[in-house]
């Protein structure tokens, strides 16, 4: 994962950055185009370029690569729970965050699990990573903040929370889900005011966690996620009630 994430067997993905890491280098690694075939396939799926059931031969042609490379990429995605093998030569994608409805489902899932993960016994904030995350959040507020940069920092923050969870199942589920969000959720249009406000909310949650006020932090997380729910109506027309939307930005 471009050096940004490291995978620990049976635990999931973790931020590889430590306090000595150069944040700028880390960001440039995130932005590099030298991504794996598995990531390209996943990005194409998120952009709705690939069918639900892509065949291996189709993927070989599309990516102009070898059968072994495609099978290797699909195995990586299968291992991550993103795709299932079905009888024959096809594979079946599992749900990802590629549509407004899927993003709304993700939001509901996180609203249930993220505050609960903080409150579950054994929550232990990784203070070293928390310090780095805090620095990154603060740095993001010093200049203009765009959606792409926010998206990465938002994932970093929420993965830190997940990684700190004491409940192993909550931890694994959230880590897998945040990784899916990081790669497949695309949001282009949250106003900068809301992005900055969300970063302030992240910092306030970190404050509470560092004070070990877990009940406060869980409540702040609930509020943060509720405020992050994008309520722009899907359709609006003069004289007509707006058609509601249930998406979440971050």
């Amino acid at each position: 994962m471009n050096g940004f994430l490291v995978k620990r067997e049976a635990e999931g993905y973790f931020l590889s950055a430590d306090l000595d890491a150069d944040t700028g280098v880390m960001e440039s690694k995130l932005d590099t185009s030298s991504v794996s075939l598995a990531e390209i396939i996943l990005a194409d799926r998120a952009a709705r370029r690939l069918d639900d059931l892509p065949s291996v031969s189709f993927l070989i042609r599309r990516y102009n690569t070898t059968r072994a490379a495609v099978l290797n990429a699909l195995t990586v995605l299968q291992h991550d729970g993103i795709i299932d093998r079905i009888p024959g030569q096809s594979w079946n994608f599992r749900p990802i965050l590629d549509t407004p409805n899927a993003v709304a489902d993700s939001h509901h899932f996180r609203l249930i699990l993220e505050p609960a993960a903080i409150l579950a016994p054994g929550f232990s904030l990784d203070l070293v990573k928390a310090r780095q995350t805090r620095l990154n959040l603060q740095k993001s507020l010093t200049g203009r903040l765009g959606n792409a940069a926010f998206h990465k920092l938002d994932a970093e923050f929420h993965m830190l929370i997940a990684q700190s969870a004491g409940n192993r199942f909550a931890r694994d589920s959230l880590l897998a889900h945040h990784r899916l969000r990081l790669i497949t959720q695309k949001d282009f249009g949250t106003p900068e005011f809301r992005l900055r406000q969300a970063q302030d909310e992240h910092l306030a949650i970190l404050d509470s966690l560092e004070r070990r006020q877990f009940d406060v932090a869980a409540a702040q997380m609930t509020l943060h996620l509720r405020l992050s729910r994008n309520q722009r109506p899907d359709a609006a027309n003069r004289g007509s009630p707006p058609m509601p939307n249930g998406n979440s930005n971050h």
Binding site: S33, D44, A47, R48, R49, D51, D98, T99, P100, N101, R144, L145, G146, N147, A148, A149, K186, D187, F188, G189, T190, P191, E192, F193, R194, L195, Q197, R229, N230, Q231, R232, P233, D234, A235, A236, N237, R238, G239, S240, P241, P242, M243, P244, N245, N247
Partner: protein, 438 residues
Amino acid sequence: MTSHPTIAFFPEASFGAALNCVAIAQALERRGAAPVFVCHPGFTGVFADYGFKEVHLPGAGRNDEAADYWQAFIHRHLPHFDLSPQDQLSTYVGPTWEAIVDTAIAADASLEHALAQIRPDAIVLDNVIMFPAIAQAGCPWVRVISCAETEIPDDNVPPYLSGLSADDPKRDAFETAYRTATANAHRRNTEFRRKRGLPALPHGRFMEPSPTLNLILSPDAVRYARAQPLDALTHRYLQGCVREEAQFDQPLLPNHHGPLVYVSFGSLGAIDVALIDRMIRVFATVRARFVVNVGGFTEAYRNVPDNVVLGSWFPQPSIVARTDLFIHHGGNNSFCEALFFGVPSLILPYCWDGHDNALRAAQTGVGRAMNRSAWSNDELRGVIEGILADRGMRSRLATCAAAMRQNPGRETAAAAIMAVVSKDQTRVAAAREPSFAR
């Protein structure tokens, strides 16, 4: 003058008006004012995400009821969008005016309550219908005309929603048909206004000019030379009204070559999934990159081409600023944003003032117009490629954009609103001074 006057905004429940008001509110806030948005149900949070306070009108029903409404709306009105402006009068325009009147009647009492709570120094109304609660709020109100300039009639201006030129021989027939199609809604609105103490308006009209200030979103490049110029004391033209938006982080496409084209038909246009999908198949054959706003209907699309990216929402001004062509429905905000950034428009109108802006874009050489659905793949491809290669159009637009950016509409609007507040507060203060007359 109060150093931080409270300005209440009440945009109609459409994105064009809502985001136009956001632009003015941003400029007002920089001048020390405190904007507050009165929100229609369903727009909760839209203005808060830009940092503005919201006061909410009561909800109108459950989410599933709204979804059912829109299913019915799509089923009923999609075929009407392929009709001529004349044929839309009875099928779409008339029923929409009925719904607008229903909204005004239903919202007025709660709007009165909201304004009493806010106690604004001025009210900005961006709508196509008047609300008695605003006229009687006890402070100046400002009308924003964010539809095409045709909303304000004049002999030299085409009839509203007609898509005709001002001197078209069919003008009289259209105007007669418009009054007929809107007669019932007009009668109901007149009765409502009478009960609330407002005078009747001429046939076909649903809103009066503000006695204080009217802001018309009509840049110089597309403005009409009126037979009877509007009163300069109470009317200001805005050179667009473009809000500050999030940065647009352009995604890397598998086929990342050629100019950038942005496509958005507004939230209403996005419901025509079949038409947009047909367009996307044509985009696949053009050497360009296409960013397509499909609203909340992403799930309806499959096999998206490698030079196309879909999204449910984009920070439109940020992306239009970087595009080479903007394909849209002729909504006035979209049209003015294209002009503000010097970007050619390809307008495929489906209703309302989109017809008027489509014609005006073609007349003034800042874009082209096409029927929204009656085109062959080759025709659409040819028009897109033709506009992208049209240096003359690009040059005209550059001149237009430079003039608009020298005098941004949102700043003009904010300055004029602040002047209205200042003048009113001076008047109120003078009225309170004791009289020394013998």
